[in-house]
């Protein structure tokens, strides 16, 4: 990292998730954990974790990446394509990153994973759309006393959509299209009755598994410094999970009265779509952390992973309290005293190529 170019370290206490920024899956070791957010003066800015692992971040203009380090070709393409995006969300970043990975710029595994995950997202959307439609049929209840499979599901859906359209003063086409858009928005968390959960519940499962693995590794006889790191990471993860659980539950509860939700959708679709993505915002950054832990194969590598992860644990903005109605204090969870000293050159020395390969492996696992 070009130290002479760097601005002073800044404190980092984002109030909103937009201010926290979205993790960009860079593969250049020095850029791991970097977030993107809209700058106050327009354009985008980078938030780079303090490379020493101590508190604080560097905040830089987006275009300054090449002055900071020598990014990989993958990261050059990624930053170039992100630079022209106004609406920075976990989903927009994921889609851009996936397109870059699908070209093969993060290696063969990431290319295959990117192509496969595009299909898996599409499948999630199809399942959610179908489940929403069937939920609407059940809630409206036009066929409650009809014989099984008469009329068939397609006809039931069509008649229900027409019925609801008349009730909310819209056309059947509008209702069908609105249901599809709502399905697209909710697919990330899934809806009640959906057999295969969406992307967010899958990430939550991975995070729960990582917490369990960290605790099992740390164990009751672990050295105090390791135990302290594990405690901090798991506390933050578990708190994030509890908030995400609440957000998922609230998002799924939106569909308890689909006719009512369609009325709301007609007035402010953005608000509903935003509520559906809250859990994704909350979990942003944790998937990478889980993969860093998974890549560590033995104890010394796990200790290194622990120290790396401690510098990447996402800060929870106060906005999370508004989203979930929690009164719990968020700040104390994030207070942590680092005890294992970092070798500050570790991301630029002889291991740099190995680290890029690991980061590409993480790209493949998180597409």
């Amino acid at each position: 990292m070009s130290i002479s170019f760097l601005p002073p370290i800044q404190p980092y206490h984002p109030v909103t998730f937009r201010e926290r920024g979205v993790v960009v899956p860079f593969t250049t070791p020095l850029l791991v954990g970097t977030r993107a957010r809209p700058a106050a003066k327009g354009g985008l800015e980078l938030i780079i974790p303090n490379p020493s692992g101590l508190p604080g971040v560097y905040v830089l203009e987006w275009r300054s990446i090449p002055r900071l380090c020598h990014p990989t070709l993958h990261d050059r393409q990624l930053s170039e394509r992100i630079a022209s995006v106004y609406n920075i969300t976990p989903m927009t970043i994921r889609e851009i990153a996936r397109a870059v990975a699908a070209e093969g710029l993060a290696g063969e595994d990431a290319r295959h994973a990117a192509l496969a995950s595009a299909g898996s997202d599409k499948r999630d959307r199809t399942i959610t759309n179908f489940t929403l439609l069937m939920t609407l049929v059940d809630q409206v209840g036009l066929f409650r006393n009809a014989p099984p499979n008469e009329p068939n599901a397609q006809l039931r859906a069509r008649q229900t959509v027409a019925h609801v359209a008349a009730r909310i003063d819209r056309t059947a086409d509008w209702v069908a299209s609105a249901l599809e858009s709502m399905g697209d928005a909710l697919a990330i968390v899934g809806v009640e009755g959906q057999p295969d959960p969406g992307r967010v519940p899958r990430i939550m499962d991975v995070l729960r598994g990582t917490c369990a693995a960290l605790k099992a590794w740390s164990g009751p006889n672990s050295q105090e410094d390791r135990a302290a790191y594990v405690r901090m990471i798991c506390s933050a993860a578990e708190y994030t999970l509890s908030l995400a659980d609440e957000c998922v539950a609230r998002a799924r509860a939106l569909t308890a009265d689909l006719a009512g939700l369609l009325r709301e959708w007609a007035v402010d679709p953005q608000d509903i779509a935003h509520r559906a993505t809250r859990a994704e915002w909350l979990l942003d950054g944790w998937e990478q952390i889980c993969q860093i832990w998974r890549c560590a194969e033995d104890d010394p590598a796990r200790i290194a992973a622990l120290v790396e992860i401690a510098g990447l644990v996402p800060v929870i903005p106060r906005e999370a309290r508004d989203w979930t109605g929690t009164a719990e204090q968020i700040d104390p969870i994030m207070r942590f005293r680092r005890t294992i000293p970092l070798n500050e050159d570790w991301r630029t020395g002889a291991r740099v190529f190995e680290l890029i390969a690991r980061n590409e492996h993480i790209r493949a696992a998180t597409c």
């Binding site: 393409q77 093969g104 290194a304 120290v307 050159d345 002889a350 291991r351």
Partner: protein
């Protein structure tokens, strides 16, 4: 049945055999049905085996003495008081440990059954259990009944067995330190070296020497930390012993590098994946010796060693380039996903070697070698063996992201044809 001397005679005749034949003989001797004693046939071949490094069957004794490998010498080269272990004592010592383990031996044998010396996970897991137990056993066990077979007097046994125990007792922590240094994320910690050497004062001088020799062989950067320990405890008996052991350890390490086999084993015949790290360790040791005032006695030897290391690195880079990139790219078939991934891995290993080798050689030469490698990749893309994105990926590793970006920007657009 052949006697050990008869087996060695056969081994001497095998010395002229080609590499493949030697690998076949090793595989044959590793058959479970053959007794470990048949390995005497390999004694005259050990310098060749060190170069070839064929995977061996993971026998109990092999696992037990792995941590001591850098200090194991032919029995004829060993003298009492040396910071080394004569090969002839390994089997009697292994039998002592085996007897001391009681019923645990069955579980260990079961865990290593059908495993070979490249099964790192098994070695780490079973070794973690075996080595501390073996240390306790050897620290107290009397000389085995068949000690006479070693040809050494009984008085040699106690200090030698205790010295081996001193190493085995520290193996787990030493391996962790080596791994931490390899990962390079956590700051190297002199206190960890101090903790590893703690209690050495109670060991025999042989134990002292062997522990330091093993430490230097596995973690050359420890030399600097040992110097600091010596300086901070100057005047104490332990400090004097440590200083002597360090001096002897450095002398031995440098002699090994000067000898015909030393550098060749570590560089020319090392796997492409690990050679960069090996060279980095050696370069760091040479630099530390050059910078430390207390190692001035060794400095006159450094220039020749550095030049030898430089030559070995150049040769290894050339052979690595041939085996890792030229061969797959000249196979005249479009590269598959697996071959591309393998070539990328090889290219990374070449860069790791180059970064380490620059510290002892001419950086401009490596710039030229990397340029040549990128040209080979470019030619393969021109011949249709590589897509342009795959070419860009390899060029990025070999010549950096600027060169890769230039390749990437020249790729055909979707309308012109497939870039992937």
């Amino acid at each position: 049945m052949l006697t050990p001397s008869g087996l060695r005679l056969v081994g001497r005749e095998l010395s002229a055999a080609d590499d493949e034949k030697i690998r076949q003989v090793v595989a044959l001797l590793d058959q479970p049905a053959l007794p470990a004693g048949a390995n005497a046939i390999l004694d005259p071949l050990r310098p060749r085996l060190a170069l070839l490094r064929p995977p061996r069957r993971l026998r109990f004794a092999r696992l037990l003495f792995m941590p001591l490998e850098p200090t194991i010498v032919p029995a004829l080269d060993w003298h009492p008081g040396d910071a080394a272990v004569p090969r002839g004592v390994l089997m009697p010592l292994a039998a002592t440990v085996r007897a001391g383990l009681g019923s645990e031996i069955d579980e260990i044998e079961q865990a290593i059954a059908d495993r070979v010396t490249t099964d790192q996970e098994t070695i780490a897991a079973v070794g973690a259990r075996l080595w501390p137990r073996a240390a306790s056993i050897l620290a107290e066990a009397p000389a085995p009944a068949d000690w006479d077979s070693t040809g050494l007097p009984p008085t040699v046994y106690p200090p030698l067995a205790r010295a081996v125990a001193a190493v085995l007792r520290r193996t787990q922590r030493l391996q962790e330190l080596v791994r931490e240094a390899t990962i390079g994320m956590v700051e190297p910690d002199p206190a960890s070296i101090g903790a590893l050497l703690a209690g050495l004062g109670a060991e025999s001088p042989e134990g002292f020497g062997i522990v330091v020799a093993v430490l230097l062989a596995r973690l050359p950067s420890a030399a600097m930390h040992i110097q600091q320990l010596v300086a901070s405890n100057r005047g104490s008996a332990e400090s004097a012993l440590l200083r002597r052991a360090l001096d002897a350890g450095l002398d031995r390490t440098l002699s090994h590098m000067e000898s015909g086999g030393g550098l060749d084993v570590a560089v020319r015949s090392a796997s492409l994946r690990t050679v960069g790290l090996e060279v980095l360790r050696m370069a760091q040791l040479l630099r530390d010796i050059e910078n430390e005032p207390d190692t001035v006695r060794h400095r006159p030897r450094l220039k020749a060693i550095r030049s030898k290391l430089d030559l070995a690195c150049r040769a290894r880079f050339g052979s690595g380039l041939d085996e890792g990139l030229v061969a797959p790219l000249t196979a005249q078939a479009p590269v598959t996903d697996a071959v591309q991934a393998e070539m990328e891995s090889n290219a990374r290993a070449l860069r790791a070697l180059e970064m380490a080798a620059r510290k002892v050689g001419n950086p401009a030469l490596y710039d030229a070698l990397l340029g040549k490698a990128a040209d080979i990749v470019g030619a393969a893309a021109g011949a249709g063996v590589l897509t342009q994105v795959r070419q860009a990926r390899l060029v990025e590793i070999l010549a950096g992201p600027d060169a890769a970006e230039a390749v990437y920007r020249q790729r055909p657009t979707a309308a012109e044809g497939p870039g992937q």
